[in-house]
Each structure stands twice: as C-alpha cells, then as structure tokens.
C-alpha cells in the first residue's frame, strides 16, 4: 500500500510540475485563442535566462526574478515581431508559426549559450520529504507548491478588468476591436504571461534535470494536460496535470517490470487519444455550439 501511495504522491507532484508548463499554453489560448506549440522551448529559454543570470553573479532567486522581467519582455518581442503580422489570419497559420518558433528556439538557445546541460541550484538538497513510509522528491514538492500558487494567481488575474479584456479577445478579435479593445496589446500581454510561466517551469524543471534542449520535451506532457483538462481552463490545467502525473507514475510503477519497457509515454498518448475521442474539449474546456 505504501508503494502505491508513494507512486501516487510523486506522480501528483510531477503532474503539478507539468501543470506549470501547461499553464503557459492555457494562458495564451485563453487570452488570444492561439494554441501555443512553442511553450516547451519557452520553458527552456526561461531556464537558460535564469542560468545565465546566475553565471553573471546573481543569487538564484534574484536571477529568477530578473528572468521574469526578461522573459515577459521576450514574450512581448515574440508578439511584436511574429504574431502581430498574423492578426486576422487563419488560426492554423498562427499555430504553425508557434511550431516554427519552437524549432527555432530549440536551436537558438543552445547554439548561443552552449549545448551541455547547465545546472541550477535552487538550494533544495537531495534529502527526501519523509511521510511515514513514503519518500517524496523535495524539488518536485517545491515545484508543485509554486505551480499551485501560479494557478491561483492566474484565476485571480482573469477576474480583473485586464483579464476580462483578454478573454473577450480570445472569443472574437473583430468584436473586441469594435468595442475599443486593443487586440495587439492583449495578445502581447498573453505572450508576456506565458514567458513568466516559462521562467517558473524552466527554473524548477532546470533544477530537477539541468537546463538543456531536453526541457523542450515538456511540451508533450503539457499538451496532454491541456487536452485532458481543457485548453481554455486554468482549473483544467491543474487537475489535468494531477491526472497525467498520477497515471504516468502509478501505471509504469506496476507495469514496466512486467512488460520490460517504459510505459509512461504510452499512458500519456492513450490519455490524449481517449480524451479526443470521448470529450474533445476536455474535462473543463468550453464546448462551443454554433448555429448553422
């Protein structure tokens, strides 16, 4: 029983770390209606930004705070240089653009700063969190708490006046323009916010595994989380992350040794497939019904 609980707890913590990455995807979709396939690469860039600032002598948490500013501005630049030219274009073109951005950043970041894994020390040692017979990863526990805090902040943000404007933009660009909302500014802010999430994800995942190109691979579980939770739902990102994390821990924990292979990615893929087949808009996503 303690083995099952340990898999459950560690899976939940890992899942919340996925939620942190998924939140960047949800924020952009919720604010501008764009599915952002470059969030994995943005997380990598966030990790690189923090690492570079520590290399220049800043303490880790000050580096993370400075990286928040850097990555928010980076998000604004992405909007200004790439997205602004796409306003009013078919959504598939914009999605393809984010894919292209992912490929570009995957080469640009390591090419500029060196490809070997960079280490981030957030001051959390290797000693596990001990809860009876259960051992939990301390870095993941810190990451999970920060993910929860980000989710709460995101929920509060969308209740503000600015958050309401962003939701209006995601609903309909043209209608938003007609009532005087600056669509360009709204989209820019959403990319800036995704940059902030990327710093959180890059710092915590970077501390757990090092900062290098492999951080971009977080896009896969993050996409699974938003498909399951609902692409426009912050609560969905939270619960989707928990479910993906727990399934990806408990099932391999029992099945891997029987089948002689790692089944975690198979589990994640199955969740994506089944969700799309059974409930395409996810657990908490909005189901749009159009009159035809």
């Amino acid at each position: 029983m303690s083995y099952f609980l340990e898999l459950l707890v560690n899976g939940a913590l890992t899942g919340l770390m996925y939620s942190m990455v998924a939140l960047g995807i949800v924020l952009i979709y919720k604010s501008s209606g764009v599915l952002n396939f470059s969030q994995g690469a943005l997380v990598m860039m966030g990790g690189y930004a923090v690492w570079q600032l520590t290399e220049w002598g800043l303490p880790i948490w000050l580096a993370a705070a400075a990286a928040l500013v850097v990555m928010f501005l980076f998000g604004l630049v992405i909007e200004r240089v790439l997205l602004r030219t796409m306003v009013g274009q078919p959504i598939i073109m914009i999605v393809m653009l984010t894919l292209g951005l992912d490929v570009f950043l995957r080469g640009f970041g390591p090419g500029l700063l060196g490809t070997e894994p960079k280490q981030l020390d957030i001051g959390v040692g290797l000693a596990p969190l001990i809860m009876g017979d259960i051992l939990a990863n301390r870095t993941y526990a810190v990451g999970a708490l920060i993910a929860l805090a980000l989710v709460v902040l995101a929920l509060l943000f969308f209740r503000t006046r600015l958050g309401t404007k962003l939701r209006a933009v995601s609903d309909d660009h043209v209608s938003s323009w007609s009532v005087g909302i600056s669509v360009e500014r709204a989209v820019a802010i959403s990319w800036g916010l995704a940059g902030l999430c990327a710093v959180a994800g890059g710092t915590l995942w970077g501390a757990a595994q090092g900062v290098d190109w492999s951080l971009t691979a977080l896009l896969f579980p993050a996409v699974a989380v938003v498909i399951l939770g609902g692409i426009d739902s912050i609560v969905g990102a939270l619960l989707g992350g928990l479910i993906i994390g727990i399934l990806g821990s408990v099932i391999p924990g029992y099945v891997d040794s029987m089948v002689g292979g790692s089944t975690r990615d198979v589990v994640t893929s199955l969740v994506i497939l089944l969700t799309i087949l059974i409930r395409p808009y996810g657990m908490f996503g909005r189901e749009d019904i159009e009159r035809i």
């Binding site: 083995y3 340990e6 898999l7 560690n10 899976g11 913590l13 890992t14 570079q52 290399e55 220049w56 080469g107 390591p110 090419g111 500029l112 700063l113 060196g114 490809t115 070997e116 894994p117 280490q119 020390d121 040692g125 290797l126 000693a127 596990p128 051992l135 990863n137 301390r138 870095t139 993941y140 995942w205 757990a208 595994q209 090092g210 290098d212 190109w213 492999s214 951080l215 691979a217 990806g248 821990s249 408990v250 391999p252 924990g253 891997d256 040794s257 002689g260 292979g261 790692s262 975690r264 990615d265």
Partner: protein, 421 residues
C-alpha cells in the same frame, strides 16, 4: 560569461569557421607539405549535446598542438568540422562532401550516423573511429575492417563494473544488482552481457527501463527502492544521468552503491552540493585532469597564448580528454602509416597504421591500446573512478573483464546479421 567565450561557442557550433581558423593557424614551416584532412562530423545540436562541445574542443586543441609541433611527418592536419545533429541522411551527405574534399579519416560521434556509414567506410576504404559509440560488433576487425572503436565498447564497460563490484564485495553470488537504464538501443546494449554473467556468477539482475530522454524517473526509483538492491548500475547519457543519481539518493540509496557507464561528467556532478554524491563510481576510459604531458603542452602552447577552441575551464574534463584521446589515436595511426608506408596518406595506409598501434597510452592518458586486424576494440580496457566531490579519482588499475563473453556476443550478433541478409 565573457564575450569571447560566447564567440568561441558560436564558432564551435558553426564548426566550419573553426576549421578555417585551424588552417589559418598553421605555422609557416608546416605549410610546405600537403595537409592531411580529418573529418569530424559530429552532433552538436540534438542528441549528444551533453558531450560534443567539450569533445570537439579537445580534438581541435590537440590538432592545433600537433600542427604547432610540426604536424605528422611535416604534414599539417586540417580538421573538417560539421554538425549532422545525429540525422543519418545529413551525416551521409557530409561524409560524401568530406570524402570529395580528400578526407582520409572520419569521426561521427553518433551511433545512428556511424551505423549508417560503417558499410560505406568499408566500401570506400576510409577508416572511421567509433570511440564509445556505434555498433558493438564493430570491434571485430574481420567483419568491419575500416571501423575502429579503439576503446572499450559498452558491453566491455558493463563487464568492468561487474568485475569491480565482484572484487569489492568478495564475490557476486547472491547479490541483487539493479540495472537502471534509458529505454533505447544504447540503454539495452549491456543487458545480454549482464544476464550471461549473472548466470555464471549467481547474482540476481533486475532491469528498470525509464523513458527517453530520461528526465523524469520518479516512479522508476520508487520501484528500485522497493526491491532493495545491493548495487545499482545506471546507464544513460546527458541530463538523465544526474536525474538518475538524484532519484537514487532521494530514495535512500548510498552514492557508494551507484555505478555508471562512461557518460557521467564533471558537468553532471556539479549539480550536487558538498558531499551528497561523493562515492558514485564510473567507468573511465581516458584519465581526467590536466596532469598529463600532452595536456600540459596543450595548455602551454595552445591555451595560454589564447588559441584555445573553447572555455578554458573544460581543459582536463572527461569529454575534453576523450576528444584529445580520439585524435591522439588517429594521429598515432597516421604517424605509423607514413613511417611504414610513406606518403601520400591513403585510407588503406591509415587502416594499416591503426592496426600497428601497440601499447599506445598517449603519454599515460589512457590504458595501453593495442589494435590488431582482429581486435579493433583494442583490448576493452578501462578503470573505475570515484567522484570525490571535486574530481573523478581512480579506484582501480587499468584492466579488462569478461572479454570471452564480450566476444561470444559479438560473434552471435554477426551470425544473426548474416541470417537476416
């Protein structure tokens, strides 16, 4: 980071600029004879990113030293450096370009690319080195005459770890050994050897695969802890290695019980503070540190005058020294080839040169390497090092282990390959 370091990195990744720089740096007296062209077509940007910058830096610095010291029999060496990102099709195109440019020696540092080009190297009579990558059966010089692993292949490395555990524990009988590996061809390669030795030595082997790229292993380590193994062997590369160590220690496993394949670098270990991972063991095929005549000359003649190819702090690191060793072996082969066959250097002569290498240690940088027409692995020697908090300290002498089992498996691989044809 200094601006110059950034510039150097960019130059390394772009490769061609560095190669042009090498040509420009040739001493005037060494330009009388035609340059010998070596092609290092590597993966700078995709799979081997944990290693390649460091490795290529070592190669470039060593070649600069060779050229400064008169080249090979007066011939300067020109490196062709390109990035194939582990894409076989790109590697093949670059191989063709380099071959057309006159390259007589190749290094791909990528199993997919090396495996794709091994038949071509044999067909074109152009030697390639496959130091710690590529197919295991390339060790057999009769099957692959122009492919030279020139170092202990992965099965030989696993054998070295078993031998070390055996010696330390006073026998393997009754022990529980966990093999925690990345779920890829590289991660699975030692399994057959481990299983064979488990049968003869009477230890219990349990396998724990984790998914590629290896950056999330929490469930794996919970399962390992549940089964309470006596010793752990971790088998991955890049960020997954540090994740493995973190997973093991977080689950209460002593670092002293963790043993790793070659790919565990100073950079991986710098993630940990103080003494928390002191005691982790690793296979070492090339000594680390700068306390070696070749490294000292590189520092004196290449690094100190400001002609180094990358970040100074890497000089003496594992990947850097492996890069130096790979080029030292190739230069030794070229030297022997020209000495015995005269110029110009051709692929056939260079192959003969490789097979004349006898007891070569690169001034103590690596174990005595003897390559024969049959054995292109060169004996499968290595040693076990332990992380002492700052560096990899040798814990055993150079040696090899279970080479009879290694070669049985090589022959079986070849028999299977023949059946498929």
């Amino acid at each position: 980071m200094k601006h110059t370091d950034l510039a150097l990195r960019r130059r390394t990744v772009l490769g061609a600029a560095a190669a042009a720089g090498l040509g420009a740096a040739l001493p005037v007296w060494a330009q009388g004879k035609d340059p010998i062209q070596f092609a290092t077509l590597l993966d700078f940007t995709r799979v081997y990113t944990f290693l390649t910058d460091e490795y290529s830096q070592g190669q470039q610095d060593y070649i600069k030293l060779v050229n400064l010291e008169g080249g090979v029999d007066g011939h300067p060496i020109k490196l062709i450096i390109k990035d194939h990102a582990s894409y076989p099709e790109r590697g093949i195109a670059q191989y063709n370009e380099a071959k057309a440019a006159g390259a007589v020696f190749f290094d791909f540092l990528s199993s997919p690319v090396a495996n794709a080009l091994m038949p071509r190297a044999d067909e074109d009579h152009l030697p390639m080195i496959a130091f710690a990558h590529g197919r295991a059966d390339a060790a057999d010089g009769q099957a692959f005459p122009y492919v030279f692993p020139s170092a202990a292949i992965y099965r030989s490395q696993a054998a070295l770890l078993l031998k070390y555990i055996d010696e330390q524990e006073g026998g393997l009988k009754g022990k529980k050994i966990a093999f925690v590996h990345i779920d890829s061809a590289f991660g699975k390669e030692p399994i057959e050897l481990l299983e064979r030795v488990a049968k003869t030595k009477g230890f219990e082997l349990k396998l724990y695969p984790y998914p590629v790229p290896g950056t999330e292993q929490a469930a794996t380590w919970s399962e390992v802890r549940k089964n309470r193994p006596d010793k752990i062997i971790i088998w991955g590369a890049g960020p997954g290695q540090a994740v493995s160590i973190r997973g093991a220690v977080t689950n209460g496993i002593s670092p002293k019980d963790i043993h790793s394949v070659l790919w565990l670098s100073e950079s991986d270990m710098s993630a940990f503070k103080g003494n928390e991972v002191v005691g982790v063991k690793r296979v070492t095929l090339v000594n680390t540190g700068s306390d070696n005549p070749i490294l000292k000359r590189i520092v004196e003649k290449v690094i100190n005058p400001g002609n180094g190819s990358g970040d100074k702090k890497r000089v003496g690191w594992s990947g850097y020294n492996i890069g130096v060793a790979s080029m030292a072996i190739a230069v030794e082969a070229a030297t022997l080839a020209l000495k015995n066959g005269g110029g110009p250097l051709t692929g056939e002569k260079l192959k003969a040169g490789f097979e004349m290498i006898k007891g070569y240690t690169a001034d103590g940088l690596m174990p005595p390497l003897t390559i024969t027409a049959q054995d292109h692995q060169g004996g499968g020697q290595g040693l076990i090092s332990e992380w002492d908090g700052k560096r990899w300290a040798p814990k055993s002498d150079w040696g090899s282990a279970y080479q009879d089992v290694v070669w049985d498996l090589i022959k079986e691989d070849q028999a299977k390959a023949k059946e498929k044809k």
